[in-house]
């Protein structure tokens, strides 16, 4: 029994938690945008952009004569990823809010552009190859805290992004439900005309929503690259779309998203480690079954929950003052 527990706790704390944080960050990003009324399927592309800029910065920082501490590089990488995501999402915000264009189209453009830019820049200016290699271990063990019972594992061999992610979850939830900005964001997604009539600048709020979403998705992309894709080649393997699915399963509510991110990442990791988790390795299912399990579960949950969807009512509609 104790061995099973150590297998499981390894799977959970080394892998499920960091994956959950990535999905959570990106999903919360989607939440910011969609609750303000703008569909954001560009999460995938923004993640790639965040990961690409973070990889580039860390790549050059590592080449310095006197390289700084690894966690400082991580911190700078995450910040740069977040900022680039913030700026990159401006294009989507501009098209969706100012130009009132189709939000799917402009987001798709971002999704197509980001990997292409990565390959072009990596090839031409950075390493001369498709991928940017910053391979080393970026895990961190916090002294003292890692010796605590129960929460100890959360502080050993973890990633800096885990703590940032948790802090952001708390801050965002409070912002969302307890502050004026949160209320305005939500009102713009539900009934922009009513919001407008009360003197709220719908365009501005939506800009904030989309670009905050870019910030979080960029941060999530950087966190993913640092944790799991140190030889970054311009792909995040659909995690951005997955985060979108979690957003919908979580009914556009931060804490529900957290629950779904936990459940999904747990299944994701358990399915990939089925061969080494004691009680699972004795069950002889084909590995394809395990590998598809988390996705099948997401699909089922999506199908189940989409019946009683609580999507923001004005989601996807450009705000038109004259329309009633």
């Amino acid at each position: 029994m104790s061995e099973i527990f150590s297998d499981l706790s390894f799977a959970v704390f080394w892998y499920a938690v960091p994956i959950m944080i990535v999905l959570l960050l990106v999903s919360l990003g989607g939440l910011m945008s969609e609750r303000s009324g703008v569909v954001n399927i560009a999460l995938e592309g923004i993640m790639v952009m965040g990961a690409f800029t973070a990889a580039t910065v860390i790549y050059f920082l590592r080449q310095a004569d006197d390289p700084m501490g690894r966690q400082w590089m991580v911190l700078i990488g995450l910040s740069v990823g977040a900022i680039s995501g913030f700026l990159f999402s401006f294009f989507h915000a501009f098209a969706a809010v100012r130009m009132q264009s189709n939000q799917i189209i402009s987001a798709t453009a971002l999704n197509m552009f980001a990997p292409a830019l990565h390959v072009f820049m990596a090839r031409t200016y950075i390493r001369g190859t498709d991928s940017i290699n910053i391979r080393t271990t970026y895990r961190i063990t916090v002294p003292i805290l890692s010796d605590l019972p129960v929460v100890g594992p959360l502080f050993s061999n973890a990633f800096l992004s885990t703590y940032i992610g948790i802090a952001i979850l708390i801050a965002l939830t409070i912002m969302f439900y307890k502050t004026r900005l949160g209320l305005r964001l939500r009102s713009c997604g539900e009934n922009p005309h009513a919001a407008d009539s009360l003197g709220i600048d719908v365009g501005k709020i939506r800009y904030i929503g989309v670009m905050m979403s870019g910030l979080l998705a960029g941060l999530g992309g950087a966190a993913y690259m640092i944790a799991f894709d140190n030889d970054f080649d311009g792909h995040v393997l659909g995690l951005g779309f997955l985060a979108l699915a979690l957003l919908i399963s979580g009914q556009w509510k931060p804490l529900r998203i957290l629950v779904f991110a936990m459940v999904f990442s747990l299944f994701y990791v358990v399915s990939s480690q089925h061969g080494s988790i004691g009680f699972l390795s004795s069950v002889n299912l084909p590995s394809e079954v395990y590998r598809s399990m988390p996705f099948i579960i997401t699909l089922v949950v999506l199908a189940f929950f989409s019946k009683a969807t609580q999507a923001p009512k004005a989601l996807g509609e450009p705000y038109d003052v004259g329309k009633r």
Binding site: D7, A11, I19, S131, N133, H235, S272
Partner: protein, 361 residues
């Protein structure tokens, strides 16, 4: 805003022109398979061979990247290379068999070098035309050497992760099993290489799932994983770094990619392409032939000088001895599951713990 976009578009357009510069006068062309010329693996090995040869002999060369992995896209790129004047087209990879079958007939005056496959049509079957040469590598020998060296380096818990179960990947795995158990028998040690430590990932891409799976194995005691999985091998490297375990690279010498690469099960892609190019230019092109490059032709092997064996001298001596044995034909390495079973019986290696369903082939 529009102006900014326009400038940006012009910039990209200019950059793309620059990237295509000089393509209209090509003699040797590479069509890339799944991945790119800098995949640190199969395409790159082939490409480096071409570049080196062409630079040395002052021949124009270029590569073409198909828009997707499909016969039509491959054929389209081959046509494009031919239009650009290519006389020799190198196609690395199993997935090219149909495309080369079609193209060798369509362009009889162009020479094709097909690696890892024979030209094959769904209806007409296999046909290597006069303007084509097929090159196979004995990956099972390469895998055998990797497994053998790992066990001689005192690794006792082994694992294998293949990308997708294409023939070359399966042969690497079968050879690896045989090499590991053969060495264990010679040394009289017991090794752990059970059925659930042999898998095909279903992808050649790096990702959290691959890293998590590899880390799970390492955490449960596996000491070394042989990853014949293209880019996904990078995820195995990351896991090995996190947990201070080891991995074995594939196709080309991957020692520079990570400190945790013990050695690499190489195929002499660059050398073999250069040899055939040399034959072509000296008028001795092996027209219509299928070549099998094994240890005998130095077509497979480990990069000893860049390996990180803990017992370098011991492993090197053992490696050289077994390599000669294989090269001289004194030891036949199994290349499919039936031969693997026979190999276990012939050498009295005990029960083969890995099942046919797991290995395939």
């Amino acid at each position: 805003m529009k102006r900014i976009l326009l400038v940006f578009a012009l910039f990209l357009f200019g950059a793309s022109l620059a990237a295509c510069g000089g393509v209209d006068d090509v003699e040797i062309a590479l069509i890339t398979d799944y991945g790119d010329i800098d995949d640190e693996s199969f395409n790159q090995g082939t490409w480096e061979g071409i570049v080196e040869y062409a630079e040395e002999h002052d021949i124009a060369y270029a590569y073409y990247r198909p828009s997707e992995v499909s016969d039509d896209a491959y054929i389209e790129e081959i046509d494009r290379a031919v239009r650009d004047g290519a006389k020799i087209i190198v196609t690395p990879g199993f997935l090219f068999s149909q495309a080369v079958y079609t193209s060798q007939l369509r362009h009889p005056h162009v020479t094709f070098i097909l690696l890892d496959a024979v030209p094959e049509d769904e209806d007409e079957g296999v046909f290597v035309a006069h303007n084509t040469v097929s090159i196979f590598y004995d990956e099972h020998e390469s895998g055998f050497l990797a497994g053998y060296a790992a066990v001689y380096d005192e690794f006792t818990e082994l694992g294998y992760m293949g990308g997708i179960a294409v023939p070359a990947v399966v042969r690497f795995g079968i050879g690896f099993i045989a090499g590991a158990y053969y060495a264990a028998d010679e040394l009289g040690v017991t090794i752990e290489f059970p059925d659930n430590r042999y898998t095909y990932l279903g992808t050649f891409n790096a990702g959290a799932d691959v890293e998590s799976e590899a880390a799970g194995w390492f955490n449960a005691g596996t000491e070394i994983i042989f990853a014949a999985a293209g880019g996904a091998g990078g995820s195995v490297m990351s896991a090995a770094e996190d947990i201070s375990a080891w991995m074995i690279g594939v196709d080309v010498d991957q020692s520079a990619n990570s400190d945790r690469v013990l050695t690499s099960a190489m195929k002499a892609l660059a050398t073999s392409v250069q040899l055939v190019l040399d034959d072509y230019y000296s008028g001795k092109f092996p027209s219509g032939q299928t070549l099998y490059l094994s240890a005998t032709e130095d077509g497979v092997g480990l990069p000893l000088e860049n390996s990180r064996f803990r017992n370098q001298a011991t492993v090197e001596a053992a490696y050289n001895a077994i390599f000669d044995k294989i090269a001289d034909g004194d030891l036949i390495v199994p290349s499919n599951y039936d031969e693997l079973l026979d190999f276990f019986t012939d050498w009295e290696l005990g029960n083969l713990p890995i099942t046919r369903e797991t290995v395939g082939g």
